[in-house]
């Protein structure tokens, strides 16, 4: 027993991280949903949630309370045990995948040797929750959603894995922490060395998280709600939690692999050191906006809320600014990479998620056969070529001493050429498939 306590003391940082993730993630998810609704409203010329709290800021909490106390319905004909356990599988897998993420050099539960593979592999387990949930509901719509989900995962997993391999070629390690360090050493993020790989990963990750335009498993206009048609109340919320957790996970993978993880833009260039002030400046801006909006709120409580919120942002700005003071930095040298790293990492994750939302509100939905065709006939061959191209660039650079600036653009251009050809061939084939009436 004593040994166990001793041990727990030695691993308190990961433990605190674990508790924080488990405790805060549902809240974060709620606010991502709010963000999505606000972004959607903004793009669609309306306001979005405005009622609960100022600017709808308390909407996620109201939603959570509502979902928690809703009646819990399990259909008669459902396979009860599987129905019960399916959403849990999804949520657990999504959360567990986060354990190897490095949110800044400080915040990480465990730095694994196979970190990236761990994230990819474990988050892929979440699909079982979807398929089992859809199957156990014993409804046609759910079953169709579950099957689509399985086929979709199967088709895009390979492309995503290959895109990851492309970045790993440059990084030379599977540990999330070292991948980010490698990008610091290279002096450039891998998105610039492997833009095609990043593109493939974006598309494949959207498909893997069942987001529009690939949201076929839950396509509301066709399958009502797909695999979660029979789910209601908190179980349904768990699926939502899993979906948004997965979004965060894929966004984090993309950030770690392609967008430089917790590194500041131009981290190696002293001329851009003024960007160190950006985190505080952003927080001050947000805080000032909150204070500016505060008197315009209709109710006293809301005014107070906005005021407190604004001050809280100022507080965060102060904390972020602290390491910039020379003396503090000398005392706690780890503070700056830790705090600012987390800031930049989360900012990049947020931007990636924003990209997801943007795509969702812009594009119509793919049809199933088109989705499969895109995956198998475009992304998979392209991703194989991408891996070969990056390998070739590295050989040109290392063996024959070409500079980065010639080797990588050259191979990227070659890859793009192949992409163009694949697209053209697909188009041609597509035309053959369309049966046009004689009219």
């Amino acid at each position: 027993m004593h040994a166990v306590i001793q041990y727990l003391i030695s691993i308190w940082v990961p433990l605190v991280c674990a508790l924080v993730i488990v405790g805060v993630l549902p809240l974060v998810t709620g606010y991502i949903v709010l963000m999505e609704r606000k972004v959607m409203a903004d793009m669609q010329a309306r306001l979005g949630p405005m009622r609960v709290g100022p600017h709808g800021l308390l909407q996620p909490i109201a939603d959570a309370v509502k979902l928690l106390i809703k009646e819990d319905i399990i259909p008669d004909e459902a396979d009860k045990a599987i129905f019960w356990i399916a959403p849990l599988i999804s949520v657990t897998a999504g959360m567990l995948a986060m354990s190897a993420l490095a949110i800044g050099p400080w915040f990480q539960i465990a730095d694994l040797n196979v970190g990236l593979l761990f994230i990819v592999g474990i988050s892929a387990l979440g699909i079982f929750g979807i398929v089992l949930g859809g199957w156990s509901s014993n409804s046609h719509y759910s079953l169709l959603g579950a099957l689509r989900s399985a086929a979709q995962l199967v088709s895009y997993e390979t492309a995503a894995g290959m895109a990851v391999v492309g970045a790993l070629l440059l990084a030379g390690t599977l540990s999330t922490r070292e991948i980010v360090t490698a990008q610091g050493d290279y002096g450039t993020w891998f998105i610039f060395a492997a833009p095609v790989g990043f593109f493939i990963y974006v598309v494949a990750s959207i498909a893997e998280t069942n987001r529009a335009p690939f949201d076929l498993p839950e396509a509301e206009s066709e399958l009502v709600a797909g695999y979660m048609t029979e789910y209601s109340g908190f179980r349904w919320a768990l699926y939502f939690l899993a979906e948004y957790t997965n979004m965060v996970v894929v966004a984090s993978i993309a950030t770690t692999l392609f967008l430089g993880g917790w590194l500041r833009p131009f981290a190696g260039t002293p001329a851009f050191n003024f960007l160190d002030y950006f985190p505080s400046a952003l927080m001050i801006f947000v805080g000032a906006y909150c204070l500016y909006r505060a008197p315009k709120q209709p109710v006293k409580v809301q005014q107070l809320f906005m005021m407190v919120l604004g001050l809280a942002f100022f507080g965060v700005a102060l904390i972020l600014a602290a390491p910039l003071i020379g003396r503090v930095n000398d005392m706690l040298p780890g503070l700056k990479p830790g705090l600012h790293g987390a800031f930049w990492f989360l900012l990049k994750v947020g931007s990636y998620i924003y990209l997801f939302m943007w795509l969702r509100f812009t594009f119509p939905r793919y049809r199933f056969d088109q989705l499969m065709r895109l995956g198998w006939q475009f992304l998979i061959p392209l991703s194989i070529v991408n891996v070969m191209g990056i390998g070739l660039a590295l050989v040109l650079h290392r063996q024959w001493g070409w500079s980065h600036w010639t080797a990588f653009p050259l191979t990227t251009a070659l890859t793009l050429l192949v992409a163009g050809w694949l697209g053209w061939a697909g188009e041609k084939k597509d035309k053959e498939h369309v049966f046009v009436g004689e009219s």
């Binding site: 599987i82 040797n113 196979v114 761990f118 592999g121 892929a124 699909i127 199957w135 086929a151 995962l153």
Partner: protein
């Protein structure tokens, strides 16, 4: 001590799930227990410090079972299979054979402990860095088998298509 507890936990999980895989009537439940069994095996790999093998086990079998699962839905009428007997009338013969094989195995281990040359036990310390070691072995000593593996995959690919498509 802790290691042993963890090992027995995973081993028991794997064994019990494996038994359930063959005894459950509902095939979807069988598939779930198969996942559990495979994940428990992955846990044992992890305990042996074979991190790479652990994660490969998770990735490959998760995908594989997903495929199996869809095949179940495609090929099997669950309503009928639920009411069918799991074994035919020779089940007792099967049990007997299983017992014989089991006994043989136990005997082999018991006797072999002293007689047969067992390999070195898996190291209890960390083999840093495991991915690199696996890779080095694969691309060093086992280069040829690795390339042949691609031919094997090619054959599997062609085989699948030939079997599924009648008019190739």
């Amino acid at each position: 001590m802790l290691d042993q507890i963890v090992f027995y936990f995973f081993a028991a999980l794997a064994a019990i799930s494996a038994v359930l895989v063959v005894t459950r009537r509902n095939i979807v439940q069988c598939a779930i227990f198969l996942i559990t069994a495979l994940l428990a095996t992955a846990g044992i790999f992890l305990q042996l410090h074979a991190e790479f093998l652990f994660i490969v086990q998770v990735i490959l079998y998760a995908g594989g079972i997903m495929v199996l699962f869809v095949f179940v839905i495609m090929l099997i009428n669950l309503d009928i299979s639920l009411h069918q007997a799991q074994y035919n009338r020779q089940w007792w013969l099967g049990l007997l054979l299983a017992l014989v094989v089991g006994a043989h195995l136990i005997l082999a281990v018991a006797v072999g402990r002293s007689v047969l040359p067992f390999g070195e036990p898996a190291p209890a310390t960390m083999l840093e860095p495991s991915t690199q070691i696996v890779g080095r072995t694969l691309f060093g000593e086992y280069m040829l088998p690795f390339e042949i593996a691609s031919i094997l995959l090619l054959v599997a690919m062609i085989g699948a298509v030939v079997m599924a498509k009648k008019k190739v």
